[in-house]
Subunit: 157 residues, 2 copies
């Protein structure tokens, strides 16, 4: 099922057909409405979402309720709520719908059950997740490099 949102989601690459079926069975289609707060930084991470339609922005809070944008997701198969897969299961970003759509929502408890019962499934998902986080870490470091250069420019200009 490569053309479904779950089938093209980075996290689930390499799963077998029967593993994808098991995943599909725990995913529930959910409506997203523009302006709706979907996840809140600092709260317990219960849900992993895979985007089907619409757009979602991720951001983090700085001092004084200032919001720092982190990403806008709009491709089917994009996912958010990573903390549902990683202890201590607390969201590190907030997510808000910016364009009406739908997502496939998986509960953490259901995902954990599948991972516990099928280690191959767990290994594949965790490897994909590690790969994705590593790529994001590299991006963040690149950004730090740029800030570093900009700061030097400000300091010595």
């Amino acid at each position: 099922m490569p053309s479904t949102p779950l089938g093209i989601c980075y996290l689930f690459r390499g799963l077998s057909a029967s593993q994808m079926q098991r995943l599909t069975a725990i995913a529930k289609e959910t409506k997203l409405q523009k302006g709706q707060q979907l996840l809140q930084e600092g709260q317990e991470a219960e849900d992993l979402h895979v985007l089907k339609e619409g757009a979602v922005e991720l951001f983090m809070k700085a001092e004084g309720d200032f919001e720092i944008p982190v990403a806008i997701l709009r491709k089917p198969g994009d996912y958010f709520g990573t903390s549902a897969l990683i202890a201590p299961h607390v969201y590190t970003l907030s997510a808000r719908c910016v364009e009406d759509g739908t997502s496939l929502l998986m509960k953490r408890v259901d995902l954990q059950k599948v991972i516990r019962e099928d280690h191959e499934f767990g290994c594949t998902i965790m490897r994909n997740l590690a790969q994705h986080l590593f790529a994001r870490l590299k991006e963040a470091r690149q950004e730090l490099k740029i800030h570093f250069k900009t700061l030097l420019k400000f300091m010595y200009s």
Copy 2:
């Protein structure tokens, strides 16, 4: 074996005694000499090191051969060479020994073989790795927040 470097390494938390034995069998003690370049950013990632003694600094290259420090590892059980576990297996940082010591070196091919043959082992390592990368991503974002504030200060002061 919680007191050996492999036993206290974050990556291997939760492995069973027999899984730890299997790991120990592929780890080779290696001397590290002060000033020695251990890993090079951009090169193929063949080795994962777990520090036993000594100190290692991680850094990345900016323009003009400028080095940006990322971390100094000096605790037994600290590890470096993460890219040996993550495709496309290219080092994203350089590592240099800054204090004589030893590390336990594991070859990527040997690790991959163990992971292929024991999915539970693979799932545990990849989950630990994802958790570690996630923590590092959060740190990088915090740093970006600070740079963001510093930049604002420069721009509006």
